[in-house]
Symmetry: C2
Subunit: 206 residues, 2 copies
């Protein structure tokens, strides 16, 4: 097996990755829908041959792991048409044009669940679809919650409920939670609660 | 806050979900690319109004958490054009038409890494993109590994390497692993290794 430069390894980085990197030669819009926006790029492969790459352009999103003072988590149940199922998820939503990640997290939590939070911590980022979308999702934790009315968009239907971390992890194990962003949130939650992974808390922005 | 039927709750199920479920009224193909295949459906919302849903049709995929006898995990480094980065991932690949999930997992592990495994266990499924793709990824664990030559497709460039579970989890914590399927695999791995979650092992199929 070829010894590869691994993350954190001094060998990692651009020169070591030259045998993997693809370079854009041309780009064409192939779909401008109401929601989906897709491109087809021609790329140069590491061996100099050419290939095409088709992918969805996405503005990016946030997800919020919001924990009440009693330890319960704020979750949603929402019908997700592409998978034809009601899914259990952490609250999440797309960035508006020019919107900062924390501002989006505060807005989405309030609009979808009615909760505001006194403190926030950015845990990291996840890429849900690295093979065919530019989408990233910033993972936020929130605490110091206060509940008010939610402000759903027209045509938006979702239930808000709370569950303990143990309940959420049981649903991840038994297949009742299969949404990748929520499973990633569960990984973060489990390690934050155990003390293995640390968060850097900051006050909410006005 | 509205009390919602939660997963595992006897209230859950179709009647309780009527206030969430969307029903297809019509469906139109809006993109048939070399790789991406997209539809636009008109749906009836729970309040009887109509909306459109655009989404990618995907055949489904598998991911393999393969652990060597010494505990090290088989990982890949691959350039992912939509996110413009070399990503650390568990081996994964799409189902061929009519292909069973385990057969696909065995084929993809062999083709991409050269490894075969004596024993397999299906951990569960994840949905990477519930808002705009039908994609599911079956999560397989593999053990009893033997290494041989890999059989990459033409135009496929990826490094194979191994790392300890502790290394992988550190990369998840520090942002060097951001691929949602791999983060979900890390959640499974951590809980399988701790004994919190159980796997049902079976022999490889011929």
């Amino acid at each position: 097996m070829k010894k590869a430069a691994v993350p954190g390894d001094p060998e990692a980085g651009k020169p070591a990755d030259a045998h993997l990197v693809e370079t854009r030669l041309a780009s064409t819009e192939i779909l401008k829908g109401n929601f989906l926006h897709a491109m087809r790029d021609t790329v140069s492969l590491p061996d100099g041959t050419q290939a095409t790459r088709e992918y969805i352009i996405h503005p990016g999103a946030v997800m919020i792991v919001a924990q009440c003072d009693d330890g319960r988590l704020v979750l949603e149940r929402q019908y997700r048409y592409p998978v034809q199922a009601v899914m259990v998820e952490f609250p999440a939503g797309k960035l508006d044009p020019g919107e900062a990640s924390l501002a989006c997290a505060q807005r989405e939590l309030l609009e979808e669940t009615g909760y505001t939070a006194r403190e926030w911590a950015r845990a990291g980022v996840l890429h849900p679809v690295i093979s065919y979308s530019t989408e990233f999702i910033d993972i936020w934790f929130a605490r110091g919650l206060a509940q008010g009315p939610r402000k759903l968009d027209a045509g938006e239907f979702l239930d808000v409920f709370t569950a303990t971390p143990a309940e959420l992890l049981a649903w991840c194990a038994n297949g009742q939670v299969t949404d990748a962003k929520t499973l990633t949130g569960a990984l973060w939650l489990q390690n934050v609660l155990s003390g293995a992974w640390a968060l850097d808390w900051q006050p909410a922005i006005a």
